[in-house]
Amino acid sequence: MAESHAHDAHAHDHHEEGWFKKYFWSTDHKMIAKQYLLTGMLLGAVGAYFAYVFRMQLAFPNKPVPGYGLVTGADYNALITNHGAVMIFWVAMPVLIAAFGNFLIPLMIGCDDMVFPRLNRLSYQIFLVSAIVLGASFLVEGGAFGGAWTAYPPLSAKAEYNLTPLGPSLWLIAVALEFVAFLLGGINFVTTAMNSRAPGMKAFDIPMAVWMIVIASILFMASVGPLIAGAFMLLFDQLLGTGFFDPDRGGDPVLWQHLFWFFGHPEVYVVLLPALGFVAEIITTFSRKKLFAYKTVLYTTIGTGVLSFFVWAHHQFIAGIDPRMANVFTVTTVLISIPIAEMCFVYIATLYGGSIRFAVPMLWALAFIAEFLVGGVTGIYLGASGADIYFHDTYFVVAHFHYTFFPIAIIGTFSGVTYWYPKMFGRHMNELWNKVHFWITIVGFNGIFIPLFMLGASGDHRRIFDYSNFPELATPELQQLRVFATVSLLVMLAIQPVFLINFFYSMFKGKKAEANPWNANTLEWQCPSPPPHGNFAVLPEVYRGPYEFSAPDRADDFWPQNSPT
């Protein structure tokens, strides 16, 4: 009774909103999700532009890049630094966790909003400010920070070394603000998922996407603290002249590396888990099968999360850490490939015997499994400290983490966007153009990074902006591979406008979508597309798990979670 009353009042609010209140000052979780999604996509374009400029410099050194001009060494450093930072902190995080977390959690657990709607709005606004501060760092004296996205001191700490007196500080402030935004968001996500589930939804009835986003938020909360402390210590080193990371004054530069990677490695899983969650939703829906071993997936995820706190020093094998410590971290690092491999097997087992339909989201989900596998397998070479001494700081490392991050941030995002687009905007995207976009993106991606594996194995060092000064690396064979990678990037970038046009055109002109176009079971498909303010006309109750496909005694091959019979 009380619930339905509050609900009416809520729906009433909606009609009095003006344009500003609706699109910018909204506390509605779906609008905040769209704000995060569009901001993330815009910054994704920025990060892609950076990659375009520095890849052109590598393939065609010291020739003016169309749309940029001549790339200096300092420009190059600023571009690679901010490409990494933007893609991880301002694209992967806001899109995978914040946009999808905001959109999916209340809908999938069957309630009307987040538990703290105003905190949610504040989280986006702080995120927006952080993006603006990052942009501002390009406009200050000396230009943007160019000390790599890992910001190792002493290079990041002293203006005498990096020659950018203001860029590093603005960069650090932007990153710290971004962390605050996601801490607020994460507390909201976890509390909402714990407390606001529909009546009847027990722990094992929660869709995997929600579990994954929640576990990712907890991992983020548990790992980011030391880096927030470290960010302020580094800021004081830069601005006040303290010596936290300065060995001449009793500090220790390796301390930064510990603080950074104690966060940095769990961060990989923070962005990986939501993508794994989307894949679980999609492959069950498009193979019409129950998720194989739901509880195993869940426990494996939690195990991965715990283990991810004990692998960070594999980033520091050549930083001068004790070799005995390197042995321990080699073991933990190789161990963490077990749960991830298990996850891939479980997904493949889900597909086995299903009636598979290659819809666009399914293509992306399958590509995710295939491509991420390459990233995972090459990680074993780097996790073994002996091999890592050779591979460290080569393009092999660059190719490896792009084979993990590209499936996560780009393929994962495309799978999620194409799957939930009908729910978000109430219309369908054009399937043919989406398939064209899919194939060219995937082929282009492999064309970029397979040559980089070969370059890295040939000893190509990743921090060089003009190889003509290094005769042993400036051979025609190696240069051909660099050109191949860059041309592949150009092909991949050239197809992205097709997706963007499809995305925005379909928002207004696409085929209208019904409430449950994929015949899926989870609760977000049981409300109208797009969901109105307050989401559900009658708040649902839950009777079963999320993946009850092809139940033997039913006429339909799906069985919505809220259907009593």
């Binding site: 619930e3 009042a9 009307d112 987040m114 538990v115 548990a222 402390a229 006040l240 010596g243 708040l539």
Partner: protein, 190 residues
């Protein structure tokens, strides 16, 4: 603003506000944990920091410990009053807690002024850098806690949102607890 139904539900049985405060505290523990962990490792590697630490004023620190612990008592009494529905009394007790916070900050102000005049600034050496960072971060939490408490007290006086008296109390105990770690690490260990 009307609260969404999501806010009113409680699948765990723990009220949503309290659950969220515990998560805030969990994330704060990691922030302070990172800073203090870094300090401890440095301190173990630099025995000479003990001589720098001998310049801190243990008595001022001890007095501030007493002040903070007493202010926690009034926060508990405020919670007790709020439970009984006595908003005005809860508001007054929260104001007493705020006076404790203010006293703490004034003592800190005198301490820091004296230390800076002696030349022990944040750049003097590693110990003093950690000292000002850790105590400063804690001080920011004291200030933030006191400001939130003023808002909660204003609501409580009108008998609104009385559950928040407990929530700010939980947070305040956490701020106390951090100081209980800082005091021995920065003042007593010499």
């Amino acid at each position: 603003m009307v609260k969404p139904i999501a806010t009113l539900r409680s699948a765990t049985g723990v009220p949503t506000g309290r659950l969220a405060v515990w998560w805030v505290i969990a994330s704060e523990i990691v922030i302070f944990g990172g800073l203090l962990g870094a300090y401890l490792l440095h301190r173990l590697g630099h025995p000479e920091w003990a001589t720098y630490a001998s310049h801190t004023n243990t008595w001022a620190g001890a007095f501030n410990t007493l002040v903070l612990l007493s202010s926690s008592l009034s926060a508990v009494l405020a919670h007790n009053a709020a439970e009984k529905g006595n908003g005005a009394r809860a508001a007054n007790l929260l104001l007493v807690t705020c006076v404790g916070a203010l006293t703490f900050l004034v003592v800190k102000g005198f301490e820091w002024t004296h230390e800076i005049q002696e030349g022990f600034t944040i750049t003097a050496n590693g110990f003093w850098s950690f000292y000002y960072c850790a105590a400063g971060l804690h001080g920011l939490h004291v200030i933030a806690g006191a400001i939130i408490m003023l808002f909660v007290a204003a609501d409580a006086r009108k008998n609104q949102e009385l559950q928040r008296v407990e929530l700010i109390g939980i947070y305040w105990h956490f701020v106390d607890l951090v100081w209980i770690f800082l005091f021995p690490l920065l003042y007593i260990a010499k």
